[in-house]
């Protein structure tokens, strides 16, 4: 079996047990990338230096030194997460030449346990999008059907995992950006509770709702990465204390609520797969029943208001003074230079910055931003009440199947609607994940599992139970 098909536990065990070297494994992956990348376009940059790092791991093992839980495991990092010495572009012209002088906490933690960064994954510019079409480096294509979008904004992350170009990946999830592509690419993607994972080094899009999250082909992969990166960080005051350790457990008798609004809003083919998934869980001894989350109707408006408001401020720093791209300031005074430089944002980013500036304007703050924050409290209250009755809530991750590249790009509002099922967890600050539920017409459907704050273990229990029972295919033929 090709080494690039192994999951992260198998890779670490193989490398440590010297069944194969990290170098061999990375070599195979780089070959694989060379082969499939022209079709998938999952990466912004690929690191040949990964081979050198693999040799270092191999040497440590030969010398009997300690190596971590992810020794040798190749990970792709969404290109909005800072990597020391490696260009971090956010798929934007604005950061075309930006090389961070520091590692994001998550990257440092992964490197500390022996993981190897194999490349930087493609995304929608500054993580704004649901398809990975809004990238300066071209659209990423869905490995299951390269005429279709892989989801977004962490489309490069999910596609690189599905296409066996790396073993695991880190994405970021502001309104579903980990779970959406995980669903569209038939991979496992997890967005943790707000504050579980440090955002230090994640280029901010909407600080108050986003989290970094792992993507893998199995629940086991996701647990291993989650354990490596989660926990308090002195560089991020919004992280919560402690260092959690999650595990794979056989757990029966979970109380499951199937969210009616999510099912009703889904395309019938998708709904059918989700009903089947609920049946699978029921067969495994879970108590499944339909329930309602009424406040979902306000979720999208609230989400886009908050996200765009915060984005408009977060993206103000890109004025091309301290870093950016080559643009001669000769002949400009600073105001016109800023304007000239900032005209290089992509269309979607400009749209969000403008709308965000508007909702924060004096006189509108109370009407929009404050109101959106009130909706967050409402949604959270309703979810808290539901989690007294249910251990987990389920529904489709995406209401539709992966669509054709270019299909929705001209209609932003239609595009925003596809986030309806995922934004709820971000607004509530609660954990949610997508696990492959099956296929319809050859296209993947993801099952979204949500849990109460810091109940990642319960959520993983459900995901593992479902994964073991459903046995859904994880990688396409390319």
């Amino acid at each position: 079996m090709a080494l690039y098909t192994l999951d992260s536990g198998q890779v670490a065990a193989g490398v440590k047990g010297r069944e194969f070297s990290a170098e061999e494994y990375i070599y195979q992956l780089l070959e694989r990338i060379e082969k499939v990348e022209p079709k998938v376009n999952a990466f912004v940059s690929v690191r040949k230096e990964a081979l050198d790092e693999a040799r270092v791991i191999d040497k440590k093992i030969r010398d009997g030194e300690q190596v971590g839980a992810l020794a040798g495991v190749a990970v792709s990092i969404k290109d909005n997460i800072c990597t020391k010495g490696i260009k971090t572009t956010c798929a934007s012209k604005m950061l075309e030449t930006f090389v961070p002088p520091y590692d994001a906490t998550v990257v440092k933690r992964l490197r500390d346990v022996g993981a190897i960064v194999i490349g930087k994954a493609n995304l929608d510019e500054f993580a704004m999008g649901s398809t990975t079409e809004f990238s300066r480096y071209g659209a990423t294509r869905n490995p299951w059907d390269i005429s279709r979008v892989p989801g977004g904004s962490s489309g490069g992350s999910a596609a690189s995992v599905a296409a066996l170009e790396c073993t695991v990946s880190l994405g970021s999830d502001t309104g579903g950006s980990v779970r959406c592509p995980a669903s569209f690419c038939s991979t496992v993607g997890l967005k943790p509770t707000y504050g579980l994972i440090s955002r230090y080094g994640l280029v901010s899009y909407a600080n108050s709702i986003e989290q970094i999250g792992p993507i893998g082909r199995t629940v086991s992969d996701v647990v291993l990465v989650l354990n490596a990166i989660a926990g308090a960080d002195e560089n991020d005051h919004t992280t919560v204390g402690g260092k959690p350790a999650h595990s794979l457990r056989q757990r029966k008798g979970l109380r499951v609520g199937l969210v009616r609004e999510f099912i009703e809003g889904a395309e019938p083919r998708v709904a059918k797969v989700i009903h089947k998934a609920a049946d699978t869980l029921a067969k495994q001894g879970c108590g499944c029943e339909e329930t309602s989350l009424a406040s979902v109707q306000y979720a999208l408006a609230s989400y886009y208001t908050i996200a765009m408001a915060e984005a408009s401020s977060n993206l103000a720093r890109y004025d091309n003074v301290r870093y950016g791209f080559d643009l001669d300031p000769e002949g400009y005074e600073w105001n016109s230079y800023f304007a000239k430089a900032r005209s290089n944002f992509g269309e979607e980013v400009k749209r969000r910055v403008i709308v965000g500036s508007y909702v924060l304007s004096s006189g509108y703050y109370g009407k929009y931003y404050l109101k959106a924050q009130q909706v967050r409290s409402l949604i959270k209250r309703e979810l808290k009440a539901l989690f007294k009755k249910y251990d987990i809530l389920i529904g489709p991750t995406m209401p539709i199947l992966p669509f054709k590249i270019g299909e929705k790009i001209a209609d932003p509002l239609r595009m925003y609607l596809v986030d309806i099922d995922t934004v709820v967890a971000n607004l509530a600050g609660m954990p949610a994940m997508s696990v492959p539920a099956g296929f319809t017409d050859g296209l993947p459907v993801g099952l979204q599992i949500m849990a109460d704050e810091f109940q990642e273990q319960t959520m993983l229990d459900a995901a593992y139970l479902f994964e073991q029972a459903a046995k859904v295919q994880r990688s396409p033929d390319l």
């Binding site: 971090t88 956010c90 991020d236 005051h237 720093r317 800023f338």
Partner: protein
């Protein structure tokens, strides 16, 4: 015409050691440009602000000292505007709206002996970087360079109500604020630009003019004075004063119309998501109150009750913390508080270069004088070793040389002539050489003083003037 002046004071919390949201030093002065920065304060993508707890404590202290209300928790807000010295193109500051307040509101402070000023708010925020104009000024430059060394240094902004009626009140108030700041140890006010002051001035109910770019407290008084005169002159000529922002021209000491018209900006304030609300709570408040250093008012009380100083002398001393500290060090060496206080307040101060005092706020700059010198001097006088006139001369000498007064006295034989024989001899000499004056003195008391002056001259001031005068009168009566 009624004049209304309000002040907006910015004070760097240099005592907090590090910047407000990162671990870089506050001590940026004299460093190579952009050497005192890190990914956080230079606004690199992906960085997050980390609140400096010490700065929060200092801001709490100043709020307490100004008798402000302090909320149970505080939040930081983003003030969004584009400017090249702002690494993130927003400033982290505080905001008073939507039931949120800054760290201090609705305070009050007594100053200048019985005057009161209301404090609208105290807020904690970050300093921007600095633009360095290649040609020295904006007008004379083709380009500007940006130095982010200062970016992120913690500032407290103290905003008063328009409670001042004239420039003198402004100065007295700023003296009080400075003394409080220094007593709290939160700012080294001697550092250039560590305290700044903008002012709002309106005359006779006219429009309000904001004066910015006043980079020292000393200039604040001058700027206000200039602006009042300007507005009064306009009013007397029936010219309406426009509501505008004017800049203080430090070189020419005038306020100038702002070159670029500052339009009404919409700062799009919203709460900083990356900094969770800082909970102050009763525990914070009580522990902070306990750890507060002695404030100027309390210190003045102590100087009066414990050392028996007059209220005036005590006030002069505490108006400048260095002077009060100097006083307390001196009386530790030689416990004669009134004598020492007088030497400091009246005599030593006469040697202080006023110009330097304003600029440097370093009182005894250039004077080679320490508490031990004044203690020694007071002791010599107390013990009748030298008379006051001699002591003053000695002081005049030692502030330049740094010698101890007792050594100088010994070296120049400045000890008083207490030998009656020697004094009589001196009087004899003067009576012989100034016979006309002696005759005159029999009718004219002023001439006796002239004779005394001659005796003092002859003895190089070492004679006890009282004893000498007595002897002169005796001789005049004899003749």
């Amino acid at each position: 015409m009624e004049t209304k002046i309000g002040l907006e004071i910015h004070c760097q919390l240099t005592g907090a050691k590090s910047k407000l949201f990162c671990r870089c030093s506050c001590d940026y002065r004299g460093k190579a440009p952009n050497a005192n920065i890190c990914p956080i304060c230079s606004g690199l993508p992906g960085t997050l602000p980390l609140v400096n707890q010490k700065a929060v404590e200092f801001a709490g202290m100043i709020s307490f000292a100004l008798d402000c209300k302090v909320p149970d928790e505080i939040a930081f807000y983003r003030k969004n505007y584009f400017y090249p010295d702002l690494p993130k193109n927003f400033q982290l500051t505080q905001y008073n709206a939507y039931d949120i307040t800054s760290i201090g509101v609705e305070g009050r402070i007594e100053y200048g002996g019985g005057k009161n000023a209301r404090i609208r708010r105290v807020q904690l925020e970050e300093d921007p970087g600095r633009l360095v104009y290649e040609g020295g000024s904006m007008e004379a430059s083709v380009y500007a360079l940006i130095d982010y060394n200062r970016a992120g240094v913690p500032l407290v902004e103290i905003v008063t109500e328009p409670d001042f009626a004239d420039p003198k009140e402004v100065r007295l108030f700023l003296d009080k604020i400075t003394s409080i700041i220094e007593h709290l140890g939160l700012c080294d006010t001697k550092l250039e630009g560590s305290v700044r002051c903008d002012a709002n001035v309106s005359v006779g109910g006219g429009n309000r003019v904001e004066i910015k770019n006043v980079s020292s407290f000393a200039d604040a008084e001058k700027a206000v004075r200039y602006e009042i005169t300007r507005q009064r002159t306009m009013a007397s000529r029936d010219i309406e004063v426009r509501s505008e922002t004017r800049h203080w021209d430090d070189a020419r000491k005038v306020t100038k119309e702002s070159r670029s018209k500052e339009e009404e900006q919409d700062y799009r304030y919203f709460p900083e998501p990356d900094v969770p609300a800082v909970v102050l709570g009763t525990e914070f408040v009580s522990s902070l109150r306990q750890s507060m250093p002695e404030l100027p008012d309390a210190r003045k009380e102590r100087f009066v009750s414990k050392y028996g100083l007059s209220a005036h002398v005590a006030q002069v001393l505490i108006d400048n913390k260095h002077m009060a500290d100097f006083f307390e060090s001196a009386i530790e060496i030689y416990s004669s508080p009134k004598e020492i206080a007088n030497w400091i307040v009246t005599d030593l101060m006469s040697f202080v270069d006023e110009r330097k005092k304003e600029q440097e706020r370093s009182l005894f700059l250039g004077l080679k004088i320490g508490p031990e010198h004044i203690a020694d001097l007071a002791k010599l006088v107390d013990q009748d070793m030298i008379n006051r006139a001699t002591a003053k001369q000695i002081l005049g000498q030692i502030v330049r040389t740094g010698e101890m007064p007792s050594e100088v006295a010994k070296k120049t034989e400045a000890g008083k002539i207490d030998d009656a024989g020697a004094l009589a001899q001196a009087v004899e000499i003067v009576f012989k050489s100034e016979q006309a004056a002696v005759q005159d003195a029999k009718h004219n008391p002023n001439a006796a003083n002239f004779l005394l002056g001659k005796v003092m001259q002859l003895t190089k001031g070492r004679a006890d003037p009282n004893a000498a005068l007595e002897m002169i009168h005796t001789r005049l009566n004899e003749a």
